[in-house]
Structure formats: structure tokens, C-alpha cells
């Protein structure tokens, strides 16, 4: 499993190299530019690995023949229409989406450039217009609280929260099903009775949770180590710089909260997973009892996803307090919205409280359910356990 994660990460980091492997005979697109205007646009169409621009061609017929023969991929004919730049892209085979959008954006830029040139401004003036950008700064009038987050901070907070949310979701579903099937298989193979004669059910319960939690932490540590290694040394630390710039936008508090929420949520789900595993009679039924818990993680995941559009909805706020989903939703609120100190602590408190209650309940229930074999759905199983052990 860990290997799989590491593999996925390697693929992500070396994606461009791997892509080249698959599309090894990738040739640059040959594109001819026919400029019928007086403006000089050659500075805009610069050749690179993907595209080679052939400037200042004039013989359109000859070029069209070349396109048909496959020597050229496209002709871009640029002309003036009522003071606006007009471009026609002629192809024999349609261009790939990527190339199409590259050419479009270059042409957009060329259009602006052309308009500026027509106004016969000085080069400084032109440069100023082209580089025009509104500078926005925030001023906080509330002297009691620290300033709100800038948009950039919120943006990076949003994306990091998204990544953290996905991570939490993956870890939860992996370890939830791990502990449930683990216990279910011991129960199903009837090795459980042999075990429970040696160790008390409560010890078995605690040992399972501790075991899977340690496994989860080991796995996370390995993944983090591999990531850091890659980030630092692969591709001259590009990834490292990228990650560093994102983390810089976030506070240390956010990182701590994210880790706390991740660990606590995993613990909560492990307790629930162990309890559900103890209800199952055969390992084949594990999926059935896992369903409700999986649904809840899915709900949390989708609520978190909805937050990417707008993290300030009441919907997000409600789910950031529900213990089973807060782990995924609250880090997003912390990262991407202006939130006080109380809210995350309150949510964390609810989560810890739920863990304690779930733990105590499961501990006493586990002893009764782990040797009771029953059929039916989860609720039916609960009922059977209560019936035959009281």
C-alpha cells in the first residue's frame, strides 16, 4: 500500500518525463505565420519545444499545399479588419487541444499588442498598458483582531486544504477498511476465540487500534520522507520551492491543526471500524458494515469539494463541527476563510469528546459483539448482540 502511494507520488513528480516516454516521437508543430499587417508581431510568436513558428511567409498557396502534404501543421494568417486584428488558422488535420489553446492565447496577446501599436504610443507607455495590473491591499479597521487573510493566502489555503482533505479521505478509507476487515477476518476464521482466551477483549480492541494507528503513522512518515526527498533533490528542487511558497502563505497553526485533525479523525474512524468489524460474522460481510462509515467519509469529502467553489457557506460551517467530517472540512475553513480561534478549538473539542465517548462505548460493546455471530444489516446485528448478551 505504502509502495503504491510512493509510486503514485513518483509518477506525479516525474510526470513530464514519463509523458515523454509515452509520446517519445513527439515532434514540434510546424506553424507558418502570414502577417498582412504592418505591425511587427515576430516577438510574440517565439518557437519552443512544442511549436516552431515560421515567420513572414507570403506565398499562401504554396503554404497551403505544404499543409496538405503534411510538411506544415497549420497556417496562421493575421490581417487587419477595421482596426482589429483578425486571425485565420488553416489546418489539414485539426490541431490538438493543447496547441489550439496556446495559439489562441498568443493571438489574444498579439491582438492587444496590435491595438496598442495602432495608438502609436511610446514603448514605455505601451509597456505600461500591457503590464497594467491593479494592486490591491487590505486594511483592517478592527483593531482588536489581527488582519484578515489576503486573497493569495486564502487561495493557497484553499488548495492546500483541498490536498489535505483528499489525503485525509484516502487515509480514512484505507485504514477504516483495514481495521474492519482485519477484525472481521479474525472473527470469520474463528481464530478470534483462540485469541480472546489469551488476551482480554478490551486488550485486543486497544491493540488493534494502536496497531493500525502506528501502521498509518509509519506509512505517513514514509510518504512524507519520500516527498521531501523528491522535493529537495528531484528536478533541482522545483517542487520544494513550489511547496515552500505555498506553505509560506499558511501559518504554522494551520499545519498543526491539519495534523491534529488528521490524526484524531483517523483515530475516530479506527474505533468505529473496530466496532463494526466486531459485528461481522464473515469477512465477506465487512463491506456491508463498512458502507455507512464510508458514506459519511464520502459526504465529508464532497462537502469539502463544494468548499473549493466557496468556502464560506453555512453548509461548510455546519459540517466543520460534525466530528466525522470536521477533519476534512475544518482545515479548509482554517486555511481559506477568516476564522477566529474559538471555532477550530470548539470543533477539535467536539471531535475529542466524540472519540472518548465512542471509545468507551466500543470498549464495552466489543466484548459482547466480538463473539456473537449474527446475520442481517448493521442495525439488526446491533440488536442481536444486545439481545443475546443481556
Amino acid at each position: 500500500m505504502t509502495l503504491l502511494y510512493v509510486l503514485a507520488m513518483s509518477v506525479a513528480i516525474f510526470w513530464s518525463d514519463i509523458k515523454e516516454l509515452f509520446t517519445g516521437n513527439h515532434e514540434a508543430q510546424q506553424i507558418a505565420i502570414v502577417n498582412e499587417t504592418t505591425a511587427d508581431l515576430s516577438a510574440i510568436f517565439v518557437s519552443n519545444n512544442d511549436m516552431v513558428f515560421i515567420q513572414d511567409e507570403t506565398n499562401l498557396e504554396k503554404l497551403e499545399q505544404k499543409v496538405k502534404d503534411g510538411e506544415l501543421d497549420a497556417i496562421v494568417e493575421v490581417s487587419d479588419q477595421n482596426g482589429q486584428l483578425h486571425a485565420e488558422i488553416a489546418t489539414f488535420k485539426p490541431l490538438k487541444l493543447n496547441d489550439q489553446s496556446t495559439i489562441s492565447s498568443l493571438l489574444q496577446y498579439a491582438g492587444q499588442h496590435y491595438a496598442v501599436q495602432k495608438l502609436s504610443l511610446s514603448s514605455e507607455q505601451a509597456a505600461q498598458i500591457m503590464a497594467a495590473q491593479t494592486i490591491i491591499s487590505n486594511k483592517n479597521l478592527n483593531e482588536e483582531s489581527a488582519g484578515g487573510k489576503s486573497e493569495e493566502e486564502k487561495q493557497s489555503g484553499l488548495w492546500v486544504s483541498y490536498a489535505v482533505g483528499i489525503l485525509i479521505y484516502f487515509f480514512i478509507s484505507t485504514f477504516l477498511s483495514m481495521i474492519t476487515t482485519e477484525i472481521a477476518s479474525e472473527k470469520g476464521s474463528r481464530a478470534m476465540e483462540m485469541l480472546l482466551v489469551s488476551v482480554k477483549p478490551a486488550t485486543h480492541f486497544k491493540a488493534k487500534i494502536a496497531g493500525v494507528l502506528l501502521l498509518a503513522m509509519t506509512q505517513m512518515a514514509i510518504i512524507a520522507a519520500v516527498f521531501l526527498l523528491y522535493a529537495k533533490f528531484a528536478k533541482d528542487g522545483v517542487v520544494w520551492d513550489m511547496a515552500a511558497s505555498i506553505v509560506k502563505e499558511l501559518s504554522l497553526g494551520y499545519v498543526l491543526y491539519a495534523i491534529l485533525f488528521l490524526l484524531l479523525t483517523i483515530i475516530l474512524y479506527l474505533i468505529v471500524g473496530a466496532l463494526f468489524g466486531s459485528l461481522v460474522s464473515k469477512v465477506e460481510e465487512a463491506g456491508q458494515v463498512l458502507m455507512p462509515a464510508m458514506m459519511i467519509t464520502l459526504i465529508g469529502f464532497y462537502v469539502m469539494l463544494s468548499g473549493i467553489g466557496n468556502p464560506d457557506t453555512i453548509f461548510i460551517k455546519v459540517f466543520s463541527y460534525i466530528p466525522f467530517t470536521s477533519g476534512m472540512v475544518m482545515p479548509m475553513r482554517i486555511g481559506a476563510t477568516d476564522i477566529g480561534i474559538i471555532e477550530p478549538l470548539l470543533s477539535l473539542g467536539i471531535l475529542v469528546g466524540t472519540i472518548i465517548v465512542a471509545y468507551l462505548f466500543s470498549l464495552s460493546f466489543y466484548k459482547r459483539s466480538v463473539l456473537t455471530y449474527s446475520t442481517g444489516g448493521v442495525i439488526q446485528k446491533f440488536k442481536t448482540v444486545l439481545k443475546v448478551t443481556t
Binding site: 479474525e186 476464521s189 474463528r190 476465540e193 483462540m194 489469551s198 482480554k200 463473539l371 443475546v388 443481556t390
Partner: protein, 301 residues
Amino acid sequence: MTLQLQHVTKKYKDFTAVDNLNFTIEKGEIFGLIGQNGAGKTTTFRMILDLQETTAGTISWNGKPVNSINRDVLGYLPEERGIFPTMKVEEQLYFFGELRGMKKAELKKDIDFWISRFDLEEKRKDKAETLSKGNQQKVQLIASFIHKPQFLILDEPFSGLDPVNKDLLKDAILLLKEQGTTILFSSHQMDNVEELCDHLCLLKRGVSLFSGSLLDLKKQYGKTKLSVRTDYSTTELLQLEGVKDVRVEKEQTVLMLEDEHYAESIFQKLSAGKYIEKFSLDYLTLDEIFKDKVGGSVVEV
């Protein structure tokens, strides 16, 4: 070193699984618990093992309540066969031994001994799931006592074993007894119970019908089973004094007597002073007593 059950009762919402059960097992004794399906045997075992709580009554080991003793003195072979399917035979035995706090080095000698004794040498490195049912059972049996418990519970240890393996198991049980292990076991094969048990307890729907030594149980019925080979017809035999019932079997006729003292007069009548091929007065077998006590022809336990 004794196990004592006093007034042990287990009640569920709508039925009583075990009702006021009393018995004592002395050190080094083999004790049999006999009863049909649902008689409460497994529930009793689970209560002794503290896997289930008693509703009333006490279970004590050496005078201490069982839920306060160190579990390592107990060994248990559950009725449902269960070992880890993907673990190798040897690893499995080490695992269960280590679970009881034993060291690998201590275990090695015993594991080697039992593996060779149970003819599992070739399967040593095999995964448990690849073994035959009988072999799996042998592995599980070794796992149940590899930590040398003082008290061993075997729930239906003979079911599913062929005659050769049954003998291996019987020898093993007797060897454990020699080493001082106290053993409590249940079986529906009465011949095994008869051969091994010193004392037994007959359970019917949670109620103990008899608890004591096997001989005492047999004496309760007396020597009332008379096997003969004779020319007398069933009707003639039934008319003899003291004959309750007559059953014709392949090689013999079995008469059930009201009391053993009628045997003498029957002998005189049947032989009439001449040679008689077969005349044998015996205690009832445990099987027959069981059927009589439990009151049904169904002896599937």
C-alpha cells in the same frame, strides 16, 4: 488445584442457557461435559474462560474467581475450528505460544515434539489453509496447549478426525494428564468419553442431570444389560420374570432387566443345565445411559 462451579446460571432475555450448574474438577482429572446441541456446553466453557459473564453463581480456580486469575493457566480448543489461514503451521504455534508470554527458545522444543508426534513434520512450513481439515484441527489442538496450561478445555476435540488421528489425540490427552494437566472436554462420541473421563456431567437444556464419577453413574443403573445367544423367541423372552425389554441384534439378543438380581434365574432358565454360548451381564454403555437420561433417540451433540 481445582475448578469449582457453584450455582452457575446464565440467563438471556427469553431463555436460560445454563441453570444452576454445580461441579468440581480435581487436579489432573479428565472431566467430560456431555449434552445435546444447545445443552449449554459451549456457554459453560465460555463462562469458565470469562468470555461471557455469569448471571448468577461463582466459578473459581483454586479458590479464586476465574475472572481474576492469570489467563495463561488456561488453554482452550474452541468447537469451531479457527486458525489463521495464511500463517504457516510453525509460525502459528510460535504465535500462540508467544501470545501467552513464552519465549521462542522455550517453545522450540515443545513445538518440535508435538509436530512430530502429530505427524505434521512435512506440513511444518505449509500455510494453514492448504492443510486438510483433520490436520488443521491438530495444529489448533497443539496451539491450545503449547503454553502448558494447568487447565485445558477441549470443545469437541474428536469431531472430524479419522480413527488413526483419534488415537493420536487420545494418547496426547492422556500424556497431558500424566503431566498434571486438568482437562475438561465435551464430546458427542460416548466411547471417547467413556475411555478418557474420570468424572462427567450430563447436561440437558442447561440443567445438570448427573454430575459425578462414571462408575457412579453406571451403578445408578446397575448391571441390567444382558446379552445372550439363545433359541428363545422374543415373546418367550419378554415373558421371563424381570425382563423389561428385548432387542434382537445381529449376533445376539439383548435383554434389559429391571434389576441385576433377575439374571441368575434367567441364566438357569435359558441354559437349563446345559452349555450356553453367550450369556453376558453388563453395565449399560454411556451411550445407552445418555439416551435414557436425555430421553431421545437423537444423540447428535
